[in-house]
Subunit: 435 residues, 2 copies
Amino acid sequence: MKKDSIGIGMLGLGVIAGQVARVLRDKSGILANQVGCPLVLRKVKVLPEDLSRPQVEEIGPHLFTTDDDEFFTEPGIDIVVEAIGGEHPALEYLTRALAGGKHIVTSNKEVIAKHRAELLNLADKNGVALRYEASVGGGIPLISRFRYDLVANRIEGIYAIINGTTNYILTRMAEEGADFSSTLAKAQELGYAEANPENDIEGIDAAYKLAILASLAFHTEVRPESIYREGISRLSSRDFQYAREFGFAIKLLAIAKESDGVVEVRVHPVCIPEDSLLAKVDGVYNAVLVEGDLVDKVLFFGQGAGPLPTSSAVIADVVSAAQDILLGIAGGARWELGPGRVIKPMSDIETRYYLRLNIADRPGVLAQIAKVLGDRQISIASAIQKLADRAAQTAEIVIITYPALERAMQSALGELVHLSGVKEVSNFIRVEALS
Amino acid sequence: MKKDSIGIGMLGLGVIAGQVARVLRDKSGILANQVGCPLVLRKVKVLPEDLSRPQVEEIGPHLFTTDDDEFFTEPGIDIVVEAIGGEHPALEYLTRALAGGKHIVTSNKEVIAKHRAELLNLADKNGVALRYEASVGGGIPLISRFRYDLVANRIEGIYAIINGTTNYILTRMAEEGADFSSTLAKAQELGYAEANPENDIEGIDAAYKLAILASLAFHTEVRPESIYREGISRLSSRDFQYAREFGFAIKLLAIAKESDGVVEVRVHPVCIPEDSLLAKVDGVYNAVLVEGDLVDKVLFFGQGAGPLPTSSAVIADVVSAAQDILLGIAGGARWELGPGRVIKPMSDIETRYYLRLNIADRPGVLAQIAKVLGDRQISIASAIQKLADRAAQTAEIVIITYPALERAMQSALGELVHLSGVKEVSNFIRVEALS
């Protein structure tokens, strides 16, 4: 299609939208050269209260509207960049834009995680494309990897650190021996965690991103509510100490595996070997390890959030959409949703476990524990026992098991708390033997 | 373009070509689904002596020819996969195929490093595409990152471990305290190094790959002969010991930087902080760290060689070419070569240095050395002195400098060897302050 320019419409005016507008302006020459014609920001739809923000003056007040109809009926818009976030009204806006034949670029992980299939189908029906590279991993190239570079691979596993807030907290806890709540408070002070941190620390954000990656990797629809999820709030500084003694680091991992058509998806704290590459990913950085039958393993690392990295991914998608518009390609045609896959129930997964127990410091207790585990086919690989409290005559024991079924471990945990020698099951953490 | 199938022609029958043929056969269903029609291997051009190889039987003897004309005039071939390697006759074959309107997919780093611009221009003239994802980093998605995901970034730096053989040797030397020649011999025994290892250990292979990455990153043509290059053969086990004492690992890095339109490109051993991510990349693995103005830094890690990972990249390119053929897109149109850039002379680069000297164990020698350095504006950041040989009354001193000009350091090195107190300048290694 011959065009003098490609028109962009933007929904929202947060830090990401502001940065995208800045890149469109500051790099207009380079981008026009890549695309073949200029990319022109034609309209920005905001809420009335946004009109007083300083970005409005910077971008140009004449481009702003608070009126939905004015935005969606603007004929000069070819690509809609959605940067409002959240499920609603983003879903309704995206639906309306797609139905109106606009190409979509979004950084909204929640709406993509929850509505990817219906939005893709709608895009396909309207001969436009839905792009969402920025929804996972900020500026790290990820989404398109599955669609292009890894296309010949059967993806076997994904192991991802995809939430910067929790990785920052865990890094601080590991380095400083601090406890969770004080570290969270410090992260909130520094702006690395939100006032209401639930989305991050409970793994909700990571589960959205894993739903997107797993859906792409396995050509299916993995819904966020199918993902088993545990947050990081019950980790204590003692766990980091013990983990280190066993040669482990503790990370919040988003894990997806596939075998024989059955998909396993979970987000929870994991002990991983401290010399594995993922163990070295510190602070707010993200990293995604992908295992495929041909590539063996590849890892992508970078800043998983922030306006600049995210704008990099948004603009890459905009350029790609613009190129396809000029070439007259209907974006949805290149790939399709695959058949549904069975999600493995959490009780069926098999992994190794780290168990920390507070026990009575007297003979026979370890034998009691070993029997409960052994009765359920759970074997002990190694154990450390330390005198925890001489006055109370209690000790702390940490056990690393061989691979066992989650169902068996849950049953064992239920039994262990009733043993006369066990004061408390202080924690248990799954162990992944990453290399 | 409506087509019932996309025809593939293959040049060469090494391990990579064999694996590509295997994937085309074993994954034909998945690939046809991605492309929209089957990918069919139509002809394989080999040398007469290749006809007795077992792959011929596996792939199907009727597909083989030893005749150039028969291969290049076969009308059913849409995409030519070149897997013979080396500059000649690969260049002549690629030229002929492009002139005949065939799309090209190649894993040949040498021919791309040396002839990328002319081949791209020829492809563009003939309305076809030249794809070479597999030429750098095996199965690690790299080439397309610059063309797509990072398109909005001004690339500021590339720091790459892109030769598995040298990284394997350096990893062994660091872990075992072994010297270079015995480690090389062991690597040759294990098949990690070739009988004639020059291409790897002298950094020639890494320079080819860096030429490709830098040309892409900076939209220019960086020729391999413009790249400053030093191999790893003069590293000794003592260097690894000292480096560790200063908190450094030693890696063979391919480095490219750009500022103010001037490009700096070099391949040589480098001291990097041992807690940097690149320092953790061990054995035959590859990793490429890219710094951009928007993404900050992203890192790509994986197996940089081997038939399976390389076939992953080749097939990704084949699928992409096939999709473009069906969509009727002339592949070369999407991007173009940029203006030439000035390559900074090595003498103008600025970096920190590690210097190891054998000196007379008497007062005043360090003062002599410090004067030679100081006269050239080179400041000492830290130093370790050890008694090396009590009988000969010599000591070993290792100095880490602050950033200094290469020109100044080369001049200092020339002067240091003439100092009465300096027995030998045993080694010097540049230092990069990666984070």
